[in-house]
Amino acid sequence: MHSCKPIRKILALLVFLLLLTQSTSTFAAFAVPDVAATDAAGVEKVKSGMTLFKANCTACHALDRKVVGPALAGVWEKWESEEKFVHWVQNPAKLIASGDAYANKIFNENNKVMMTAFPTLSADQIKDILLYLKNPAAAEPAKAPAADATASSSSGAATGDKGSSNWYVWILAAFLAVLALLLWSVTSKLDKAVKEKAGEKVEDESLTKKLFSNKTLKVLLLIGSILLVFNIFNGAIDLGRSQGYAPDQPIKFSHALHVGQNQIECQYCHTGVEKSRHASIPGTQICMNCHKYVQQGPKFGKDEIAKIYDYSGWDPDKGKFVKAPKNIEWVKIHNLPDHVYFNHSQHVKVGGIDCKTCHGKVEEYEVMKQFAPLSMGWCINCHRQTEVKFADNNYYSIFQKYKAELKKGTKAKVTVADIGGTECQKCHY
């Protein structure tokens, strides 16, 4: 042990020297003081820094990761002095033009995107922001649990779609019951044969006869066959329709997350719905409006969002588009026959029909599915029942007679059928 001591001393000295040379060789940092949670005046400053940070900086910066601009935690270790940092925030273009080495370095590192100048921020305000960057926990100690809560609630909302498979269970049960009955009859017949062979006197009435003379069984059989026939008709009606069709899509996009939890409006992505025949499937650039920043989902983590990056050609590490975009080949769910004309803008913009009327509670769909049967009967039925929205709607200005009758009270309501909604050529031409 004694012999080790001088070696340790020398090692410690070496490490100290190494640290010293390192700290002098890298960029000279400036100090931002720590703020304890008990320091009321300091916490006030941190809070004002947080407000300023959220009002001015978060459009491009985050604390812990690169967004548009670099991560800001530890920014004091990169700039040589506070004055220079303040200068940078107030007028970055000037600092770059002055030939400052570090200013030019980060300008080039961030795809030569010029940072917005903040001439209105005073040096004291920028110091407050720095205080917040150093001590983010002092300003909002409750932030972390809140973020956890949203994450857990979103994963909890992921419910399995098991409703449709209940049918199979019942059918299987019925099938097994029939099988059991048959087996029972076979075994009892065998049993009877064995007994007869043994010379025992058995009652002559056969088991099937016994079964079919049983009244309850007869009723059961009748109900069963009616159900079967009903099922055949139902299946025949479903031919060519795809109600409930929910195919696997190239990206596991969840409407429950985007519409339900995040409350993004349908038209945000389906931009064509008020302007054209098609609701339109959004291109990747609409995904990237948010997903340049949101890189991780609550359910599939980074996997599904990485697919968007692949399709759009975005490199999240470099923060820019590096490849040509590819098509996302979504599987079309709602397929109308060629001999039907349907127009989204006519229904949504002109008629004022809610998306849910035909697409159901999309905000609850983990996987998109066809909600309505899209049959002709379903269309016509809605045309017969839906009242035309005359109020505040210039599209129906020519129906003066109907409007007058409604006012007078001679007509209770005007349905779509009244204005030609059940004419053949309205949809078939």
Partner: protein, 201 residues
């Protein structure tokens, strides 16, 4: 007897197959003679074009009738302040109805219903807050820079050029200016430009 047995078997088979339904498949069809589309639909594959798509961009050098061409490129943010002004005179009805609707659909999710940068995505901690319209840097931002931002995006905000057309962009901007910021003068573009040029070099 055999015939009766066949009939029962047919009913049984049909009856049970009618129940079997895979939601991953579109289902069965019977004589879909006029259902399949002969013409190529928007968004469908198309073997006649090189890239295999039916939706094609306009050929180089052509331009749709009445289409607005934005004269500035991505990096011309500073130039937009003096070059771009609102060519429309919207009625307050248009702004209150259509403008408000467009704002609610496209902007409010982050910028908030009041324009204070506290939209739903910000409140549930999914997206960082954008700057408020109601305080200084954005309160006196020139119209041109606003339009440029909608065209190309800024910071974390993406481009809304594909979602909003020329008229709609100005409708949204008019709604923000008139209803959220309470600036009612129709053409403050020149004064705004003057104040701004003192701020940025």
């Amino acid at each position: 007897m055999l015939k009766k047995y066949h009939f029962i078997l047919l009913i049984l088979v049909l009856g049970f197959t009618a129940c079997i339904r895979n939601d991953k498949k579109p289902g069965r069809e019977y004589m879909p003679d006029m259902s399949a589309h002969i013409a190529y639909e928007a968004g469908s594959d198309n073997p006649f074009f090189k890239d295999g798509k039916t939706n094609q961009l306009a050929p180089d050098g052509s331009m749709a009738r009445g289409k607005y061409i934005y004269p500035l490129s991505d990096t011309d943010y500073e130039k937009s302040a003096s070059l771009i002004t609102n060519p429309f005179q919207f009625t307050s009805d248009e702004i209150n109805n259509e403008g408000k609707h467009l704002y609610k659909v496209n902007c409010a999710i982050c910028h908030g219903d009041k324009g204070d940068g506290q939209g739903h995505l910000v409140q549930i901690n999914k997206f960082p807050p954008p700057p408020s319209y109601l305080t200084e840097p954005l309160l006196s931002l020139p119209d041109g820079k606003r339009y440029h931002t909608v065209m190309y995006g800024k910071g974390l905000m993406g481009s809304y050029a594909s979602q909003l057309n020329h008229k709609e962009r100005w409708l949204v901007l008019s709604y923000v200016k008139k209803n959220l910021q309470g600036i009612s003068t129709p053409a403050p573009a020149t004064t705004a430009t003057a104040t701004d040029s003192t701020k940025t070099n």
